[in-house]
């Protein structure tokens, strides 16, 4: 982990439908810095603006006030420069493209040659452990496999930052735990910075270096919890340190609820 900032959010407010009757303050006074190589989770009750915050980092939304910097430049410039890849809750693959063509989509848009694209998509398929599935169509794959493809697509152009919006939210518990291990392996292999939105306490505890707990209406940073579980394996889930971290997150979320 380097000391350089991957993401720095300075005093950001986000207000939807400003000056209208249905005006909503989604985020207020957000200050958050994420170091390069870090794995940071955003957690909080629904309506706390965690997805909104992720979209501000990705420049899919613009802050009403304050600034968002990604790798020392504006979020907008970072998006233009393709510094991040994005994974959504639903894999969001294009049904009419084969798995390999889905992974190659961003490369195609960046004007890569056909042979370079094919080489890279195979590398990515190997990375997400689906080496033989390039010729399949998304609908022929299970939910977990589709999400792997989605991760492969997000990483295909080797962005330094991965933004994930509840990527395992639609998966069953066992698949979800396998995917967490896979994601950690990929994170270590690629050295990518990850910002991970979730509403699952064990997931946040298991994956993260830091967990940012948000409180709703308006969304604010309630607390930031450091987690250090070292090298994680399936047995980490029975580790007292894992339980301690989960308990700390749970208590913070309870405090958030009582605040309301």
């Amino acid at each position: 982990m380097s000391e350089k900032n991957a993401v720095s959010i300075n005093d950001v407010d986000k207000i939807f439908n400003e000056t209208r009757d249905d005006e909503v303050t989604a985020l207020s006074n957000i200050d958050l810095t994420i170091k390069e190589g870090e794995f940071v989770s955003l957690i909080g009750p629904s309506g706390c603006g965690k997805s909104t915050l992720l979209r501000l980092i990705g420049d899919l939304l613009e802050p009403t006030q304050g600034s968002v910097e990604v790798f020392g430049k504006s979020a907008h410039q970072a998006r233009i420069d393709q510094d991040y890849g994005m994974v959504f809750q639903h894999a969001g693959l294009f049904d009419w493209r084969r798995v390999s063509a889905n992974i190659e989509l961003p490369l195609e848009l960046h004007g890569w040659s056909k042979s370079d694209r094919a080489t890279r998509s195979q590398e990515m398929l190997d990375l997400v452990k689906l080496p033989d599935f390039g010729g399949y169509y998304p609908r022929q794959l299970s939910g977990g496999m589709q999400q792997r493809v989605s991760i492969a697509r997000a990483l295909s152009f080797k962005p330094k930052l991965l933004l994930m919006d509840e990527p395992f939210g639609a998966l069953d518990e066992m698949t979800r735990e396998h995917m967490q291990i896979e994601l950690l392996r990929i994170w270590e292999e690629t050295g990518t910075t990850v910002v991970f939105v979730t509403h699952s306490i064990p997931e946040a505890a298991f994956l993260s270096n830091r967990v940012v707990v948000l409180s709703p209406r308006p969304g604010q940073v309630h607390s930031v919890i450091d987690v250090d579980l070292g090298q994680r394996t399936e047995s980490t889930r029975q580790d007292p340190k894992f339980f301690a971290a989960a308990t700390e997150i749970r208590e913070a979320l309870r405090a958030v609820e009582e605040q309301e």
Partner: protein
């Protein structure tokens, strides 16, 4: 697998035709037995069953092979109808292509700017409330003033019918991608044009092809109605009009020409089905 399906379709079609012929002949037989009344009642049948109103099916089919005069030459009825259908097909094809272009253009425009959707969509809907029969002479008069051939005026009438389903379904299709798909393209900093070609147009295909099948049939209807209201000397519409006038003498010929029109409609439908198979072959593979 594929041949089994084709065989099934073939037998279904044959079965339906046999069923319809039996229904036609059965109704006719029943009417003739009971002097055009429902058996055992005083209620008259809605359609008389004499040979003028309802000729025998075999006579209609027989008429297709009968020699008829076309100007100075003479040829079998089916060849005559094919010749006429070819003219109608050309008019309909031009109308269809124009309708497809205009319809898709409008759909893209409306999907690009919300304000153009709000401004255009009501007018597109209103356009279809004008009766075709009223519109046709206006188009022809305008076309002749501009020195356009009648063929083109008829095509325009056809266009008028075809652009509508294309525009409406095209818009739905272009708007069909999930918010996540659009966000994804946005995250790639993809331009509007790139998003259109890589996401929106491919996603619109399942919406578009049913509309194109409808538009295909409508393009034939438009061409035939156009021919009838213009009084063009060629085309199926003209043949139908002439045989309608001489219905009392040759009822079989009118039915034969209607069968010709239906056949042309089926041909166009089949062509669009083939196009669909080609353009959607990838998604079909998954379905099967």
């Amino acid at each position: 697998m594929k041949t089994a399906k084709a065989t099934r379709v073939f037998f279904t079609v044959v079965f339906v035709i046999i069923f319809l012929v039996l229904l036609w002949e059965g109704y006719k037989w029943m009417g003739q037995q009971n002097d055009d009344h429902w058996p055992g009642t005083n209620f008259g049948l809605p359609i008389a069953t004499n040979d003028t109103i309802m000729p025998h099916f075999v006579d209609v089919v027989g008429e297709l092979t009968a020699e008829i005069r076309d100007g100075r030459s003479s040829m079998p009825m089916y060849a005559f109808l094919l010749k006429k259908a070819w003219f109608t097909f050309q008019e309909a094809a031009i109308g269809f292509i124009l309708g497809l272009t205009i319809g898709m253009g409008l759909a893209v425009l409306m999907s690009r700017w919300k304000i153009s959707e709000r401004g255009l969509l009501p007018w597109i809907n209103v356009s279809q409330t004008i009766p075709l029969i009223a519109l046709a002479p206006v188009v022809v008069t305008w076309g002749r003033n501009q020195g356009l051939p009648d063929l083109f005026s008829i095509s325009l009438i056809s266009t008028y019918l075809t652009f509508f389903p294309v525009a409406v379904s095209g818009l739905r299709g272009l708007q069909s991608p999930d918010a996540a798909h659009v966000e994804l393209m946005h995250s790639y900093a993809a331009s509007w044009r790139t998003t259109l070609f890589k996401l929106r147009l491919p996603a619109a295909r399942p919406y578009l092809f049913p509309a194109l099948k409808l538009a295909g049939s409508l393009s034939i209807v438009g061409a035939i109605v156009g021919e009838i209201s213009i009084g063009r000397k060629t085309g199926l519409g003209r043949a139908i009009l002439e045989y309608a006038l001489r219905y009392a003498i040759f009822p079989e010929r009118l039915y034969a020409s209607v069968i010709g029109a239906a056949f042309l409609g089926l041909m166009v439908f089949g062509m669009i089905n083939l196009a669909e198979r080609f353009f959607m072959r990838r998604t079909r593979e998954v379905a099967s």
